[in-house]
């Protein structure tokens, strides 16, 4: 009987090997899948039982875990909830967003950078503490941005304002301010009263004005006339035009392959001369006829190429998400190229994207990767990783950048962008009024600028999507200009 006993022994060996392989598969290879499952309460309860790291702006924490005396050990709190909500995101029993999500590994202490700390905690039998995340935000700029947005008159229909501001440092790509309205209170979502959390989340997610949306990076809108900076960049880069030279002018421009009023572009009464006008005048007066003609002449491909050099159609933001991708339409025909050149048709941009356009012009044409996490720190505030500025590429040559700066400075000093002017500082800027495409929805007001023009410290983009402003007043940077001005002043002072 020994032969079959040996066979049975081998059979048993196979059974046990199968058990061990399967356990390894489950506990090693598949472990993170199970850990990430939404039904898995262990991971979240664990997060509530240890001190999560803080999110810091300047010297202050905008998100921190404090000891709590209810069923969990720590409660996540946001001392300035509304101002920073879209950046920090929220940390709830059900979900996380913003920095809470993108830097979760650091904040929870699971990141490899914190391995040594974790090991020390483990050996000394202390409950682990997460690492801190230092943001690039400038508290003064953020204060100014949020305060300026709050001052906008509320839309009578929705009872709120839909707008956002983003400011970046041109030389590094550091995001200095990022505010979005309407906003929400992340403290309510981080509460340990899970019933109330669910209720508040349902209310916020069903609100038609989308308070949870970080409009600075998650909303793409037609950029309108602010896109003329890109068109001008393409024109100057083509070598056919100079900032001091002449460009096509005229009161109206008929797009090629069209006839009648649908294909006719005008300047809403602004003075754009006839035939040829100086480039400076075209920019100052934001001449649609000029830029549409330039767009048709340069062609959709050249415009698209220039837009992509500024970051369109790319995901460049690595430390905050999800990021909406700005878009320049592919395969646009001639009349569409003309419309695209003035930021209409299917051109879409986030406020961050337009701030990057301004920042690249300000930074001698070099586009820097925008970032918001300045450094990762250990629980004892020792810096573990410092984010280094990174070049994304050259959007335009330094000469073209100088030309564009010259045009944008005169737009602030002599033209439509005057509301952004700061006494004693040279400001370069451009307004934009984008048609929403829907006659019932008022146009979107844009304002893009940087300052000081000679040695830029800050580039800003403002968009007002909906507010209690009459259609007539929305244009010309009347409301956007002062917001940009306030943010630029906060950084420069």
């Amino acid at each position: 009987m020994n032969k079959p006993i040996r066979t049975i022994a081998i059979f048993c060996l196979l059974l046990f090997v199968a058990l061990m392989l399967n356990a390894t598969w489950l506990q090693y290879w598949k472990a993170s899948d199970y850990d990430d499952n939404a039904l898995n309460r262990r991971v979240i309860e664990d997060a509530y039982s240890q001190q999560r790291g803080a999110i810091l702006v300047g010297d202050e924490a905008v998100a921190e875990s404090v000891e709590s005396d209810d069923q969990y050990d720590y409660l996540r709190t946001y001392p300035q909830p509304f101002k920073y909500a879209h950046v920090t995101g929220y940390f709830s029993f059900y979900d996380q967003t913003g920095i809470e999500r993108s830097e979760n590994a650091v904040l929870s202490g699971d990141d490899d950078l914190l391995f040594v700390n974790k090991l020390v905690d483990l050996l000394s039998n202390k409950s682990g503490k997460g690492g801190n995340v230092q943001l690039t935000l400038d508290p003064d700029a953020q204060d100014a941005a949020y305060a300026a947005l709050e001052k906008l008159p509320k839309d009578p229909d929705t009872g709120t304002v839909e707008a956002s501001v983003v400011a970046i440092a041109p030389a590094t790509g550091k995001i200095l301010a990022m505010a979005s309205l309407p906003t929400y209170d992340p403290n309510k979502l981080a509460s340990h009263d899970f019933g109330a959390v669910q209720e508040d989340y349902d209310r916020l997610s069903q609100d038609p004005t989308e308070p949870l949306l970080n409009r600075a990076i998650q909303t793409t809108l037609p950029p309108g006339s602010t896109f003329k900076i890109v068109t001008a960049a393409a024109a100057l880069s083509s070598g056919n035009y100079t900032a001091d030279g002449q460009v096509p002018g005229g009161a109206t421009y008929q797009l090629p392959q069209t006839s009648g009023s649908t294909g006719e572009i005008d300047n809403e009464g602004r003075s754009c001369g006839t035939d040829q006008i100086p480039f400076a005048q075209a920019m100052e007066e934001s001449c649609n006829t000029t830029f549409a003609a330039l767009g048709v002449e340069l062609g959709a491909d050249a415009l698209r190429e220039q837009a992509e050099k500024f970051g369109f159609d790319q995901r460049y933001l690595q430390d905050l998400g999800p990021q909406a991708v700005s878009n320049f339409p592919a395969d646009a025909n001639e009349p569409q190229a003309g419309q695209s050149a003035i930021g209409q048709f299917e051109v879409r941009a986030t406020p961050l994207q337009m701030a990057m356009v301004a920042a690249a012009v300000a930074n001698q044409g070099v586009l820097m990767r925008p970032y918001i996490v300045d450094s990762i720190q250990s629980p004892s505030l020792e810096t573990l990783r410092q984010t280094e500025p990174e070049e994304l590429g050259e959007a335009v040559t330094p000469e073209v950048a100088d030309g564009l700066t010259q045009l944008l400075v005169s737009t602030v000093e002599e033209g439509t962008a005057s509301p952004g002017a700061i006494a004693g500082v040279t400001v370069a800027g451009k307004t934009g009024t984008a048609q929403s495409g829907d006659p019932d929805v008022p146009p979107y007001a844009w304002y893009v600028s940087f300052a000081p023009a000679q040695d830029p410290e800050v580039a800003v983009a403002v968009v007002i999507q909906s507010a209690g402003i009459d259609r007539g007043e929305i244009a010309g940077g009347t409301y956007g200009g002062p917001i940009a001005k306030a943010v630029m002043e906060a950084v420069i002072r």
Partner: protein
């Protein structure tokens, strides 16, 4: 076989010193785990560590001394292996009880009861070794055991004493206790099968038709396997106990194959089992449910009957990762019945993959030592019994750990020596005693007899005759 002569000439050492040393290691595992639970959960070594440790050590040392006296040649690895598993199981049950006491829903007083059961188990282990000086005596009780096993298996179905717990009707209530007679029945079945097969192996080994290079058994010999198949199906249908059904049929198949040396029986048995399983799947909703949950457990998380238990256990094991969260670092109390069927999930969560592999290896060691005893055993009855007991342990471990880790559909069975449960613990300690007894007989030097230079096969024959003689006496 040329090896046979070597085996017969070779005299095994007693190795009792090795057993004592391994036993100390096993106690270190059990008592150390108990202390670690105290430190991990309550932040201090349990106050009763001395009393608890002495009790555990006392049981182990008494067992060792008795083995030294009544079974001096017994395998030295088996007792330490089961002691380590039992000790670890106690510590994990203690850890779960602390969580239940702190408010998690669960029963009370588990560790005390389990320690009592373990003591009872060790006592029965010792009694078995003391009373049963020669395992071949058991061959007398072939039909008695078989009948007793069938009665035990039927008892849960009897009105009045049968109880349905968690959907399976495999319990009987005796006063305040709930017993699982199936656990006792499996030991009796091994004895019954061994006794029956050793007598009828020659007839059952006769070849019938040859199909695809495999000799199939003769049609007229199919009676026993069909009978066992029907009993297994009956357990599945009437008691809704997939695990026991699989265990009993698998056990019979293994022993039949070893007795007859005919792989044809494996073919017939596998076909029968596949047919039965397929039929059960078609006919019974609860079997379909089990299979669906096995294939994709997550969508059934919130349903009843659903997959909450296994999914929570999988989450726990994944959360444990390679080295585990440490005692007190996880939440194994989230898994319903973590102290019985799902104890391996609790081990996976708090001791990690390392702990799970260690436990599986310990079981592997037990099975390997049991099969080794079967190989060197000199009589057919002992060979069959040792193989059967090894198969019981191996199949049960595979079915329950495989079920919990989602290798196979989940079926309810206890994890030998680890899980909470009196019937299971006692039955498994008796299994350990029987294995020690068989290995003692097998390793004991051969008494001087004329013409002992026989081959392996002849040794089988002789042993069979010896059993027949005993039978007549």
């Amino acid at each position: 076989m040329s090896q046979a002569g070597l085996v017969m000439g070779f005299v095994h050492r007693r190795r009792r010193g090795a057993e004592l040393f391994l036993l100390l290691l096993a106690l270190a595992v059990g008592i150390g785990a108990y202390a670690a639970v105290g430190v991990g959960v309550e932040g201090r070594v349990p106050a009763d560590i001395i009393g608890y440790g002495s009790w555990l050590a006392g049981l182990a040392i008494v067992a060792h001394v008795v083995v030294r006296v009544v079974a001096p040649y017994a395998d030295p690895v088996l007792l330490p292996a089961v002691t380590a598993l039992n000790g670890l199981g106690l510590a994990v049950i203690h850890r779960l009880q602390l969580a239940y006491d702190a408010g998690a829903p669960g029963p009370t007083g588990l560790p005390q009861k389990q320690l009592t059961w373990m003591t009872l188990g060790v006592v029965l282990f010792l009694l078995t070794l003391i009373v049963l000086r020669d395992h071949r005596v058991l061959a007398r009780f072939t039909y008695t055991s078989g009948l007793a096993a069938i009665v035990l298996l039927l008892m849960p179905l009897a009105p009045g004493i049968g109880k349905t717990i968690n959907g399976a009707r495999i319990w009987i209530g005796v006063g305040p206790f709930s017993l699982q007679p199936g656990e006792i029945a499996k030991v009796l079945l091994v004895i019954a099968f061994a006794g029956y097969l050793v007598l009828h192996r020659d007839a059952l080994a006769l070849a019938g038709r040859r199909v695809l290079g495999v000799d199939l058994p003769r049609g007229r010999d199919l009676g026993p396997i069909l009978g066992m198949w029907l009993i297994s199906l009956g357990i599945l249908v009437f008691q809704r106990d997939l695990g026991s059904s699989l265990l009993f049929f698998g056990l019979f198949l293994v022993m039949l194959y070893v007795a007859t040396e005919r792989p044809g029986w494996l073919v017939v048995g596998t076909l029968l089992f596949a047919g039965g399983a397929g039929l059960a799947y078609q006919l019974f909703g609860h079997v379909q449910n089990r299979v669906n949950i096995w294939l994709d457990p997550l969508p059934y998380y919130d349903r009843t009957p659903g997959s909450f238990q296994i999914v929570e256990s999988l989450f726990g094991m994944a959360w444990g990762g390679l080295i585990g969260r440490g005692f007190g670092g996880g939440s194994p109390e989230r898994v319903p019945f973590a102290y019985s069927d799902f104890i391996i999930g609790a081990i996976g969560e708090e001791l990690g993959l390392t702990g799970v592999i260690a436990v599986v290896l310990l079981y592997g060691l037990i099975v390997e030592r049991a099969l080794r005893a079967a190989l060197i055993c000199r009589d057919g009855f002992g060979k069959l019994m040792a193989t059967g007991l090894a198969a019981v342990v191996a199949l049960q471990v595979f079915v329950v750990i495989g079920g919990v880790t989602r290798l196979i559909p989940l079926t309810g069975l206890t994890t030998p020596f680890l899980s909470y449960g009196g019937s299971s613990l006692i039955a498994n300690w008796v299994i350990a005693a029987l294995l020690l007894r068989i290995s003692d007989q097998a390793r004991r030097p051969v008494p001087e007899m004329a013409g002992t230079e026989t081959s392996d096969e002849q040794a089988d024959e002789q042993a069979t005759q010896m059993v027949r003689m005993v039978d007549r006496a």
